[in-house]
Amino acid sequence: MLAANSAVQRPTDAKLLVVDSQRNLIHVPRTAFVEFLRPNDLVIANDAATLPASLDGVHQQTGKTIEVRLAGRRSLNPMDVKSFSAIVFGEGDYHLRTEDRPQPPTLQPGDALVLGPLHATVEAQLGHPRLVSLLFDGAPDQIWAGLASHGKPIQYSHMQTSLELWDVWTRIAGPPVAFEPPSASFILDWRVLSDIREQQATFATITHAAGISSTGDEDLDHLLPFDEPYHIPAVTVQAVELTRRRGGRVIAVGTTVVRALEAAATDDGHLHPGDGVAKGKIGPATRLRVVDAILSGTHEPGTSHYELLRAFLEDSALERATSELIAHDYKTHEFGDSVLIL
């Protein structure tokens, strides 16, 4: 599939491939998404705003230029920002594919990193030479101020221009806890939310710290997705229960919503509100207990996102859908086209 290379969240020519419950494939303009909703359906999106998680700086022991990409955090607690897991890259910027970036200097526990106004110490390697846990100096407010002034959103080599926060924050963006944008939600704006209400469907959110989608390193990519903390509001749990009683469908906007809801579900399909951490992978062997349908970006075979779609659709139908996406020039990646699997 072609990479969408311009930072427009809702291009007027965006496409949507709908896979209906009979496995028919239907091509529509993406703005027609709402027409596939029925009364009592529940649309759930991830309202995480995206952190400026890319931090340029210097490895003090060697003086070498590095880029740190924050990749994980223990909790969503606003004041729990001293400790992050992070992936470290050598010099260069987003114009180089991550695969082609030079290796960073060897990182040892205790090494000091100067990242603009932020100072951090390497705590430990996390099973890979470039994946480390970092400890920032300073009080939480100073760390937030440093991230705000010095950080940039994680960049992609397939983009024409560098991304700013306003490019990656969705309209519904709330707590800044995602490391990369929950980009399936780019489809949503305030008009679409109003249209959802007009269809007598309901909109709800979860907050999930969407992690890094790709690292450019095969060994690291095998570790994806990392553990991701989430929060499920009590009202969202109530909305799911009401939807169940009324025979509506729970439609997840994006893979992170599936991850959070399924992580919070008990074996008998009950959902727990509150905070949790999503671990493990969702794939063909997963029995979905909460989510009935997914609105997602287009994903290529071999990615963890594609594996998650296999929980919704048997392989033959998913392969047919993928061929259809390629044949009809659907775009992929963050700003690409979408699929709706009902």
Binding site: D47, L76, P78, A173, G174, P175, P176, W190, F203
Partner: protein, 235 residues
């Protein structure tokens, strides 16, 4: 009965003097979680020291590139947002010139602070506010207005026309987001004994002016009513 502001997450622009500072003080004393924004680092640090628990953010709402850094510190430090008070305002040059004597650049700067700043910041924080409303906490945006927004006072051309624009935007926002449960208020605090009033009318007798603490208290009562109305509607 617990204070309606206890635990509420509130952001205030222009929080180091006048009405904004009075709002910060009363909100902190009532148990709110407060983030305030102002341009001067020293003043931000001083107000943060004097009001333990308040999160001070250095930024200028008239500068486009400051908006997202401000927004991410607000939602980052508070973990979300229930109330936004767009209070930072620019009077323009003093003594107040007649509109036809006003330099275009001065008019643009007044609009940058009083209209585009609140527009951009509200837009960036709308997701957090709507989330608060969905969760039944209510959500209110208070845009600080002025009687100069509706009355044609000679000499108040830049300020009055910018506040008129903000007032009308508030009304449209309020219509458009009513269904989401986000309420927009546009309120005139009255003639207060503040640095801005002293700049506009230097020979005014402070004894005839309202204390900013009084206006702050009235605004919080209006917000409390707005929160209750909306949390009731959204359920």
């Amino acid at each position: 009965m617990t204070d309606p502001f206890s635990g509420l997450r509130v952001a205030i622009t222009g929080g180091t003097s006048g009405l904004g500072l009075a709002l910060v003080r009363e909100l902190i004393s009532r148990g709110a979680r407060v983030a305030f924004v102002a341009r001067t680092r020293e003043k931000v640090e001083q107000v943060a020291r004097e009001n333990p628990g308040a999160h001070g953010i250095v930024g200028d709402v008239s500068v486009k590139d400051d908006i997202y850094p401000i927004a991410i510190q607000i939602t980052g430090e508070l973990g979300g947002l229930d109330v936004l008070i767009n209070n930072a305002s620019d009077l323009g040059p003093t003594p107040l010139p007649m509109l036809s004597d006003t330099e275009c650049e001065d008019l643009e700067h007044v609009f940058a602070t009083n209209v585009f700043g609140p527009f951009r910041l509200t837009k960036a924080l709308m997701g957090a506010l709507a989330a608060s409303a969905r969760e039944g906490r209510g959500a209110v945006v208070l845009n600080v207005s002025s009687d100069a927004a509706v009355n044609a006072y000679p000499g108040w051309g830049s300020y009055g026309s910018s506040k008129a624009a903000l007032h009308h935007m508030s009304r449209i926002w309020n219509e458009e987001h009513a269904a989401e449960g986000v309420r927009f208020l546009s309120l005139d605090p009255g003639d207060m004994d503040t640095p801005m009033h002293a700049a506009a009318i230097p020979d005014a007798d402070p004894a005839t002016l309202k204390r900013p603490e009084q206006s702050a208290h009235e605004f919080l009562e209006a917000i409390a009513v707005g929160m209750m109305v909306e949390s009731h509607v959204s359920r």
